[in-house]
Symmetry: C2
Subunit: 476 residues, 2 copies
């Protein structure tokens, strides 16, 4: 029999590319397995997965926030509140009891949009953040932000001529999902010379070009703060973006999952697109995504997040509900994580001092590490790096020697992928080459997370490798 | 501006129907909200959501298995093992420690196929169940079985001429997902007169008809034990089904999520398609789905499950890996749930006696309830019901009076949907009309779960309503 063959499967899926977990990540896993053997022969002792913003992964071990985990433990086994009452702060017990009374068992399906009470809390959080009301019926809890993005792209791509504007560099979820649903990615470039600024004029040029090519431009993706760039949009730019969407009748998809990851958040706070849209009195349809995987919670494994719809009709909301109902409901563990994120302990609560200490420490460590890493990367010959104001990443640019570019060509790889593979093989550090995020022709970058245990060991290894690589290919 | 309008969205999604959470379920939610007010004026005191196999939902409250929840609580907050050591059995502490050491934080992304150790345990479980080895690299942990089914249908539908054979009646996940990916559902009817038996000859007729219609038949879905029917396939039928798949070169999708829900499991045990395929030495590509949402665990809210691939090439496995990697990983809470399901406590373990008691009770209650409900439904005029040997449901057939059929027509509803809406409005019991699962022209059924707190109150209300309905429309 013929069996199940690649060429008989959905051809769109063959075009999907997702570099964050691609060839390099697979090789990193192989190294990790090999390290468990005695005679592994590898020139490093551990693999550091800097390819993915996964703060709590083994070896990085960003501690989870104790409050969140205490609430979760009590919801897993409510009898603990009686069996070990002294193990839990009083506000944790009260919070868990309230959630349990409203939701019931976390082993039960919830409402397909997520538990009603948690959606009300998300709406309260948004209203307080923005100064404008939020409707719990227009909020969908999701299994991480990715699930929401996938739903929206699935809905918006109505024909192979449907296109969605995406920033370059971008988080490859967007191109991967567009490929899966046979939509057209419409790139607009962020400006590295201006700290990866978003240019409304460049977006407009991309729209005009797409229309000339016969593409129906459905939506604009903005990642703010940026991934992989960390860049934060300013309010005038955001207003221009909203105007553009109005003028060209396109939906605004605001990926705001790094909204709490801002290293100067007291002087340069996050402003949501929801706030800007409301301030302007705009009718532009907006979907904003948030997640518990990033921020200081870093709870990737729970798969929790939400999206909020603004200026979207009830018939479209009903379609969204129908689609999520086929998947039954988002994981309750993620939903509980969302509740803890939007309702942290308040001053006066028993848990507050520890919560404050833990979140402050995580913020401080990440900011310091990002700064020192950018500084040191900038000192390397052939490397330059915008000092990222947010998110979890740096996205250094490489000026690689001609001989390295030629060697990469002969190996059938993009030059930055060639560089990244050698980095992995020599140091155990796994990064994602810029070719995975998109970049201008002839440029080379890589994305690395600013999550690592010892910055000195980590950056030291990066520096040593870089200098060796440059020397090897005649770049010094 | 035009904004976001239904007619600009992916037209395939408009055709998706998922009755389990459709009009009736939405109305049930409205009743539930109304019941919270003092002057609700409804003729019942609570809503019973018999539309969905959700054992732990509020009001049904099938207790979760304590062992599973203790392990989960310790993984949420590992410090508990020190803080409250006496609250946990020793084997629970050891199990949680082992999982924690291998996986690390459950707030971290795992491997996109699921944690390697848990996949090894699933493979051990399968090997022990079937007597044939299982490869952990061909197992994908998923967020419930639905996520796996959706991935497979997405992969298999390569054009709008691709079709998949589905049983009628079926669980509407299949038609919903096929509609979303623009595939063709190819119905084959189960035989109600023979206790909902699967007829290989009827499947073959459906294949021949589809081919005549120019449809590329990609796969055959078998739900065993059946949903909504509960029927269990016998081994000779399974062998014929495998032969059919070989002969017609189609993939076998075995939905086996109710494999532990068999009321006579000691005399009529579950046999997996994996076992039959291996016994026959068949090369038919097989994907088998399992879940923690059903069985005696009933952990729907965790979103945990897995699928196993057999006779599927490494290139197709790599494509599956790529696709799941875009969604990052299944929820760790569900993965831990899978580990507990495939590695329950063993005789001699401290947790074993309680685990045994809890699982036996849940099995016994479900079997007894199913039996008594079927008996009493069969005594009603105009109702008949196969005594389901498994799953969580009954699927009674209704012979409705002509006047009821006419009244339904005038209300613009299918007769069984008309019946079900009145049942909900009079008793608060929410069921799913047979039109949501598929049935022969002119027939009427409904699916109800055998999950309920007091069987007397529940069946009593069903009986009273039914007799009143029949009398109202001249059927008595």
């Amino acid at each position: 029999m013929r069996g199940l063959q690649l060429d008989s499967l959905n051809p769109a899926l063959l075009n999907v590319q997702y570099a964050v977990r691609g060839e390099l990540a697979i090789k990193a896993e192989e190294h990790r397995e090999k390290l468990k053997t005695d005679d592994h022969g590898l020139p490093f002792g551990k693999v550091i997965s800097s390819n993915i913003g996964n703060p709590q992964q083994k070896g990085l071990d960003q501690p989870p926030i104790t409050f969140n985990r205490q609430v979760a433990a009590l919801l897993e086994w409510p009898a603990l509140a009686e069996l070990a009452p002294n193990a839990f702060p009083k506000d944790v017990i009260a919070r868990a009891k309230q959630l349990h009374e409203e939701i019931g068992s976390i082993g039960a399906y919830s409402h397909s949009q997520g538990a009603a009470m948690i959606r009300r809390h998300v709406a309260d959080f948004i209203a307080e953040r923005d100064g404008y009301p939020s409707d719990p019926n227009h909020i969908f809890l999701t299994g991480g932000a990715s699930a929401g993005v996938s739903l929206l792209i699935n809905m918006l791509i109505s024909s192979p001529k449907s296109g969605i504007l995406i920033p370059i560099p971008q988080y490859p979820l967007y191109t991967a999902t567009l490929a899966a649903f046979s939509g057209v990615p419409l790139p607009y470039h962020l400006d590295e010379e201006s700290e990866w600024a978003t240019s409304p004029r460049d977006i407009e040029i991309a729209i005009e070009k797409a229309r000339k090519d016969g593409i129906d431009v459905k939506a604009l993706v903005i990642i703010n703060p940026g991934n992989p760039t960390g860049a934060l949009l300013d309010e005038p730019t955001m207003e221009k973006v909203v105007h553009l969407c109005e003028q060209h009748d396109i939906v605004l998809l605001a990926d705001e999952v790094y909204q709490s990851n801002l290293h100067s958040r007291h002087t340069h706070p996050f402003i949501s697109f929801k706030q800007v849209v409301r301030q302007m009195g705009s009718q532009v349809p907006l979907v904003s995504f948030h997640s518990i995987s990033k921020g200081v919670t870093g709870e990737c494994g729970r798969r929790g997040g939400y999206f909020e719809c603004a200026n979207i009709g009830e018939d479209v909301i009903a379609l969204m509900y129908k689609m999520v109902s086929v998947g039954l409901c988002p994981p309750l563990s993620g939903q509980i994580g969302v509740d803890c994120m939007v309702r942290p302990p308040k001053p006066g609560d028993e848990s507050y001092p520890l919560w404050e200490k833990e979140t402050n420490e995580t913020h401080a460590v990440l900011a310091a590490r990002t700064k020192i890493m950018a500084e040191r990367l900038n000192k390397l010959p052939g490397a330059s790096c915008v000092n990222s104001p947010g998110a979890l990443y740096l996205y250094p640019r490489l000026e690689l020697p001609d001989r390295a570019v030629e060697a990469a060509r002969q190996a059938g790889k993009e030059p930055d992928a060639f560089y990244a593979m050698q980095l992995l093989d020599e140091t155990g550090i796994c990064v994602v080459p810029g070719s995975g995020f998109g970049q201008k022709e002839g440029q080379n970058h890589y994305r690395l997370t600013c999550l690592c245990p010892g910055v000195e060991e980590y950056v030291g290894a990066l520096e040593k490798f870089h200098l060796g690589f440059m020397e090897r290919y005649g770049g010094l």
